[in-house]
């Protein structure tokens, strides 16, 4: 399951889609809209937009790389677009594998690469009504 959706993401459905036969471990990352912006300002929400064709192709490319690195894994990626409020889920990445080391590594690799490569953009909208700001992941430390 690789998707960009307008509606709230069903985390369980993403986990289920990532589950391979023989899985002994499933690791799921959920990205949530935070109340504090990159520069410390109070955030009312985030507005996401995407170039779906390129973003989805990138999801699949990242999944291929994760499989090459970590063997027989299952992977699902769903990102939301549109206006999200604080506390809402923006992205879910789920990985399953026979053992947990591969599931953790594949999940972590996928979200890192997604953030640095996928054609998705995010604008912080502020509580104080000041103009929103487009945020880049370029300077973000990899985990």
């Amino acid at each position: 399951m690789f998707a960009i959706v307008r509606e709230p993401i069903d985390v369980s459905a993403v986990e289920d889609a990532a589950r391979i036969p023989g899985a002994g471990a499933s690791v799921t990352f959920v990205g949530i809209v935070r109340a504090t912006g990159e520069d410390g300002r109070s955030v009312a929400g985030l507005s996401y937009e995407s170039y779906d064709a390129m973003a989805l192709a990138e999801f699949e490319a990242i999944a291929r790389e994760a499989r090459e690195r970590h063997g027989g894994i299952g992977l699902a990626i769903v990102h939301r677009r549109g206006e999200l409020k604080v506390g809402e889920i923006a992205v879910v990445v789920s990985a399953s594998a026979p053992h947990r080391a591969a599931a953790f590594a594949a999940c972590s690799y996928t979200i890192d690469e997604l953030k640095s490569r996928a054609a998705i953009w995010k604008k912080e909208l502020y509580v104080d009504g000041t103009p929103g700001r487009w945020c880049s992941n370029a300077g973000e430390a990899r985990t």
Partner: protein, 81 residues
């Protein structure tokens, strides 16, 4: 000759539209298209170094020559997740 231009995030806001069909002279390169857009929208200038361009869904070099019906996407630094 016409190409379709998709713009995202800050670039979309400066252009005022997310999608447009533009006339370009035969033989024009990607960088010529960008230069034309910058002339019409001076606020684009500062975004030049940070904006990448995709042609028909793949990142493209600015020297590539445009073809009829190309889909050109203007991509600011991404911020997903």
């Amino acid at each position: 000759m016409t190409v379709r231009v998709l713009a995202f995030a800050r670039v979309r806001e400066v252009l005022g539209v997310s999608e447009s069909v533009l006339n370009v002279p035969s033989g024009a390169r990607l960088c010529d298209l960008w230069a034309t857009l910058c002339e019409q929208n001076p606020e684009l200038g500062p975004l030049t170094s940070s904006t990448r361009t995709a042609r028909n869904g793949h990142l493209a070099d600015s020297t590539e020559i445009l073809e009829q019906d190309d889909e050109i996407a203007l991509l600011p630094p991404v911020g997903g997740g």
